[in-house]
Symmetry: C2
DNA sequence: ATCTTGTTTAACAAACTTGTCAAGGCAAAG
DNA sequence: CTTTGCCTTGACAAGTTTGTTAAACAAGAT
């Protein structure tokens, strides 16, 4: 018999798992809670994904994939002006975070699980881009990249806790856009661009 | 009868708890493990500190206290030149992190527990200093402060994971000093100082 | 010496969580 | 219709972890 076209339940579980894991982190996430969210029993969850960790890894894979996309954008348009390339990287990275506001906190909290995969899949792809970038700037390229990540991620790390200095959700869109532009300006200014 | 002078066991438990909590976070921390580290039984731990959460709160109090110290240094020498004051704040904050390298990761991971206490004890004290600082600079003072925190904390957040770009522990001291000076320069340059 | 108060221990229970199992259901193939 | 293979379920077991309890212990007060 052909594999039945029952992606729905599997997808439902994956979506529920993604929400739960990002919301609560691996430790606080409960498999039964995920199953409930997906509208299935816990046994079914374990039927599709043997263990909690395997389910987690599936989710992690998805998210790392998103970051890979941004990283590969470092290669794109290799003969565009440096200023323009950096602007795009910062912008795309920030947009990624806007679309996944919980991602920074999730990755940071699960760093010990994330690091190996990150090193293997992302850092290796980043290396050539970093090497060529290094030829164009004075400061250490790795350090620059870390600063970009830092500056972009930090609002999302502290934001949920401090409610971004009391700003409600109304002006959120414009505030985020403002922060993004600011981050771009700051990085470019540091390189004298 | 006067309270017996048996601070030793209580302190031992507190120290063990601090190590365990910062090392593993609240969820992964085990009360029995803390008790073992302190060389006592788990029952004794619960005798001194009723619950795991109460013990955690005691530790959190200590750490928040450290941050309070740095924050209050914003008030110190109110008629020192702005440049000098900022330099001191960045420097003291960075030194605090050097002395407590696990603190950023700990605070970030436990943000949901940290945030309320942080808001009440630290942010309130920060407000007057921020108001007066705002009169002296163009950009948003809160944003500036977040950037300072961001820039200082990030190396400690990603450091343990990436091994700080492969740098071993030998050159660590000088590397940290280098990063600190860099952070100071970057912030000052942004303000045109 | 005995009482009292704070300390310490071993054993225990209660709750929670992950993961398994045996059995039934359902839809297409034969 | 029956077989076959995936899907689904309820009940359950096994392990962990927090927190309690009753009883013993040490030492100063009376």
């Amino acid at each position: 018999m052909e594999p039945k076209e029952n992606r729905t339940t599997e997808e439902a579980i994956l979506e529920a798992a993604e929400a739960e894991f990002i919301e609560k982190g691996f430790d606080q996430a409960r498999t039964v809670s995920i199953a409930q969210r997906a509208g299935v029993t816990n046994a079914l969850l374990h039927y599709y994904f043997r263990t909690k960790e395997q389910l987690f890894d599936k989710i992690l894979d998805r998210k790392i994939g998103l970051i890979e996309e941004v990283v590969t954008s470092l290669f794109a348009d290799p003969d565009l002006p440096l200023k323009e390339r950096l602007t795009r990287v910062i912008s795309r990275h920030f947009d990624l975070l806007v679309a996944n506001p919980g991602l920074p906190r999730f990755l940071m909290g699960e760093m010990h699980r994330v690091a190996p995969l990150m090193k293997e899949r992302v850092l290796s792809k980043m290396l050539p881009a970093l090497m060529s970038l290094q030829k164009e700037i004075d400061m250490d390229a790795t350090h620059l990249l870390l600063d970009i990540l830092s500056q972009n991620m930090f609002p999302f790390l502290v934001g949920p806790a401090l409610e971004l200095s009391g700003v409600a959700s109304e002006g959120m869109d414009t505030l985020l856009e403002q922060i993004k532009q600011e981050n771009i300006t700051i990085i470019l200014k540091r390189l004298g661009l």
